[in-house]
Symmetry: C2
């Protein structure tokens, strides 16, 4: 783009523009990676700026009354296809928002759901999705207390989109956030990585071969409760969705001003996911998860927390995958299988569009 | 649809189906009228059932801690075009949710916003929308504390959709809801009807003639505060958006088990809106508003409330348009210009798609 065009595009713009990728939205702006961050920092944060949003966590923390801290979050869901092995857009919409709220240590209480339906959608398809939302909400123990439905003309919503927003209550003595990782802390993941992204890809028929991989989409709030019952020295919780574990850990390293050192040998990946990733040229560290969390925990409490995690349905395969160091600050490094150390960067561009 | 097809369609459905209109979603399911109600009652309420949702108000009321009552709401916005005289999708998204929360008498505190963007969207268009959201949020005095962005392929989101969710705090002594209208109460509207719907239609070039009509889209929370400062005998508040005043009053008549009697002579409609409606065969009672409210107030407090409303920016043209009677229950009647009385029913089908 030449300078004249840049100036022209800037005329109507109130926020700092253009984006580095040019003057148009590309799929990568929805990836959760570098372009998503740029969109937030250049376009959303300047006008909306406030402490809750600037914190950059999965949910905003607000205090509506003295002594009451709420975690509030929102996620739009546009996954294609609507149904995939292990889940569907309804289960995803409930779990995604339950998990965002839970990652602040909050007990999710209420969800609201906004539906954008495409004219011509089968009512029975919608009923299946709604029933799946109900089952996931029951499992998580949350009520859906408000909703909205809009209908757009055929071709304008690819079936349906669901936006869910959640409100959770943070217990008074719980303080969890992306900026609270400290040198010496241990990094735990609650199970295998990459299952969701590869399952959705397989459902699209894009793998070119059969696989038994199922999405891990699940509500993690009961897992978080078990962790907090075991120890209050859980410093950071995050669910590595879009952009995968690599992008999530980079966010935390930046927020906390620390280095996170991963051990490639200890990172759990199912053989079928690893095989699919190798054939497609993907790195499982960047593939989305929808039922996993990464926890950064004080070293001396790690065993207690791990034991609590392993006692739960969705944390039975929890393992330590790394530790926090002081330097080099704001970096994620990985000790590889062959003993070298490499930088693990955030996702650049878009690897797997519309997986959530 | 014959019986065999009905049975076939029912096989995969978990909720009571099919809908009366057949087995597919039609534009009317997003109208806010009869088909929307049917969708909620047949498809969403059975699985999601809980007291907050069943109340059928603009926002759900929840109690996260003793003495704390929150109003939570969500609205997806799919208006076409994105910009129209008097507003745009950003202002609409903020005001729509602020108003839903305010209609429970709550002070709106926080919003969250989920964006679904179409690949290829101009970043400067998004920046204009975001800036408009910021200005509307500032006017309402609410912060946008969490957000999410997804990108879908070209052709899958008609530019952009915005879903906003809101949380408001209900003062301890405020009790407002659609079920609280009582015989003898007066019905007030805060200004002229139909401006928003006709302005959007004009922006689409569908009127076939020029008009100066602007959308009324505005945050009504300060108006509500002024009303509640004047009297706590405000029984019902509702913003007559999709489906217009007629549909909104029918909802209230049903929730409260009362009759609402309107006086056609006192219903305020701008001459330009009336002219447009007459040419198009629309009834202004069914056209959407985005900056108006209807209030049902104890008779003896009506003057105080009216005076308070008229002292505010968005309530300066407030008038009494009718009263509540005991019978015929669950009905809206109107004394017409010519002195007869007719039934005012809910919107059937879809009059103006995608106006919010």
């Amino acid at each position: 783009m030449n300078e004249e065009n840049q100036l022209k595009d800037l005329e109507g713009a109130v926020c700092p523009l253009p984006l580095s990728h040019g003057d148009r939205i590309v799929m990568g702006h929805g990836s959760g990676g570098r372009l998503s961050h740029e969109l937030v920092e250049h376009l959303f944060l300047p006008p909306f700026d406030n402490p809750a949003l600037r914190a950059g966590d999965d949910a905003g923390v607000v205090q509506p009354a003295p002594g009451i801290r709420l975690a509030v979050s929102i996620d739009s869901h546009v996954v294609s296809p609507l149904f995939f092995p292990g889940g569907d857009i309804g289960r995803l919409a409930v779990c995604g928002t339950v998990n965002d709220v839970a990652m602040l240590g909050a007990t999710p209480l209420y969800l609201t759901a906004g539906f954008i339906l495409e004219e011509g959608l089968d009512a029975s398809t919608l009923a299946r999705v709604v029933d799946s939302m109900h089952i996931a909400a029951q499992e998580a123990g949350v009520a859906i207390v408000a909703g909205d439905t809009k209908v757009v003309q055929r071709g304008n919503a690819d079936g349906l989109y669901i936006t869910t927003s959640g409100v959770g209550m943070i217990p008074p003595d719980v303080h969890i956030g992306g900026a609270l990782a400290r040198p010496g802390d241990r990094v735990i993941v609650s199970g295998t990585l990459g299952d969701h992204g590869i399952a959705v890809l397989a459902a699209r028929g894009e793998l070119g071969f059969q696989t038994e991989i199922e999405s891990d989409v699940a509500p993690l709030n009961h897992l978080v409760s078990a962790m907090l019952a075991a120890s209050r020295e859980v410093h950071v919780l995050r669910d590595p969705t879009r952009g995968g574990l690599a992008t999530t850990l980079n966010e935390i390293a930046r927020q906390s001003g620390v280095c996170i050192l991963l051990d490639e040998n200890s990172i759990p990946v199912r053989p079928a996911v690893r095989a699919a990733c190798e054939m497609l040229g993907f790195d499982p560290l960047y593939v989305a998860n929808e039922g996993k969390l990464v926890a950064i925990v004080a070293q001396q409490e790690t065993d207690k927390v791990l034991e609590a995690m392993r006692s739960t349905r969705y944390g039975s395969e929890s393992v330590i995958v790394g530790e926090v160091q002081a330097a080099p600050a704001k970096r994620v490094l990985m000790k590889t299988f062959i003993g070298t150390t490499r930088v693990v960067d955030v996702l650049a561009g878009e690897m797997l569009p519309r997986i959530c």
